[in-house]
Each structure stands twice: as C-alpha cells, then as structure tokens.
Amino acid sequence: MMRRNPRSDVKATVKQAIACARLAGSETVEAEHLLLALAGKPGTIAYAVLSEAGLDAQRISDALAVEQAASLAAVGVTALTSPLPTYLPEARQMGQSSRLALTRAAAAAKARKDRRMRSTHLLIGVLSADVGRVPRALAHAGVDRGRMLAECHAALDHHQRTAS
C-alpha cells in the first residue's frame, strides 16, 4: 500500500479528478472531483479511510446530487436535469475549491513535517473545508468529517513511525 511514489500518487489523483469533473459536466475541477478521484483509487490510505466511512464514488455522487437538490428546493426549484450531463466539457482549470484543498493539503504536509505530499494529504485538504459542496454533501450522507480527518492523521503518523 505504501510503496507508491507519493508524487505520482498525487499527480494521478489530480488527473483522475479532471476526468471526474468532465463526467460531472463541470468546466472547472472542484474539491468534490478530487474527493471522487480519491474514492476511485484503491490501494491508498485515502481510499481506505473513505471506504471505512462507507464512501465510494457512487455514494459521494449521490450525496452531491442530494445536496444540490436540497439547495435548489430551498427556493422552490425542482431541477429537471438528467443525472448525466448531456455534454462533456473540457475541465480547463482548477476551481477555487480544489485550489484551496491543494493549498490545505500542502499546509498539512508541512505542519506534519512530512517530506512529500501524498494522496492522504489531499484527502485532508479536501476534508478540511467547513463550507462548500463537499462538507454539505458529506453531512447529507451522515458522514463524520472530523473522524475521517483524525483517521488520515493517524495513518500518516503510523507511516512516519514505520518509515523511520
């Protein structure tokens, strides 16, 4: 599980997030697409933490859809959109939420004195947001963000101990 090159680990996740954004019909890559990418990549700590919380890519997608429907329902809008977008845009740039997640991931790695950012840090970055689509969707799914964050840190601590 830990033998992957961490840098390629993060790179591959971002690449996958771009694909997730495209499939979701989004022109920007957002934090939820990073989360979907992490949930679709078995063999990583991030995947294990998400699985432990019962989150796979499908459940995250469902939670995002529920969140969107609830936010629209608040103003009386019932979206008649199909579950799959009818066109697939090029996700051309990182959106603000994914930039923040990456910044927070890097800050978490630095604060922990981890030499390299890996996908676990990315998950920490994504889960650190208090507002926005990801925490709202996770709340709809009844998932404890704080607990997942703690599990990420515990797994990184364990890795640090065994590596030294």
Binding site: G25, E67, L72, A74, V75, V77, P85, T86, E90
Partner: protein, 76 residues
C-alpha cells in the same frame, strides 16, 4: 420590491449553497440550449442576443465544444 427567495435560511451557508446550485443548473441549461439552438440553425449572433451577451462571449464559451461535438451530433 418582491422577495422571491426565502429569508429563513438557518445558516448563510444554506443560502450560498443555493446560489452555487442555481449557477450549476443555469450553466447546464445554457450548455444544452445553446447546443440545441445551433443545431436548429440559429446564428451565434441570435443565440447571443437571446442570452443577452455579446456574440464573442457566447462563441468563446461554447463554440469549441460544439465544433468538437460536430461529427457526433451533426453540427456544422
């Protein structure tokens, strides 16, 4: 002034989430309807006028994907 949005959001985050969801929905409807208009033979100028934006703006936002889609959907 007519208020059409609820003023009873428990949290500002709820209201802001509605804004995000409405933007996503608007983007999706725009993408679908622009594609439909162009397929139906509308000019970019007409689409732009209907949307209330410049021809350049609508072309920049949608032309590339629609032209890429052309072989699949019969757009010229």
């Amino acid at each position: 002034m007519v208020h059409t949005v609820p003023t009873t959001y428990a949290d500002p985050g709820d209201g802001l989430a509605t804004v995000v969801a409405l933007r996503q929905l608007a983007d999706q409807i725009e993408a679908d309807e622009v594609a439909r208009a162009i397929r139906a033979g509308w000019s970019w100028a007409r689409v732009a006028e209907a949307l209330g934006v410049s021809r350049q703006a609508v072309h920049k936002k949608h032309a590339k994907r629609l032209l890429l889609d052309a072989p699949r959907k019969g757009i010229r």
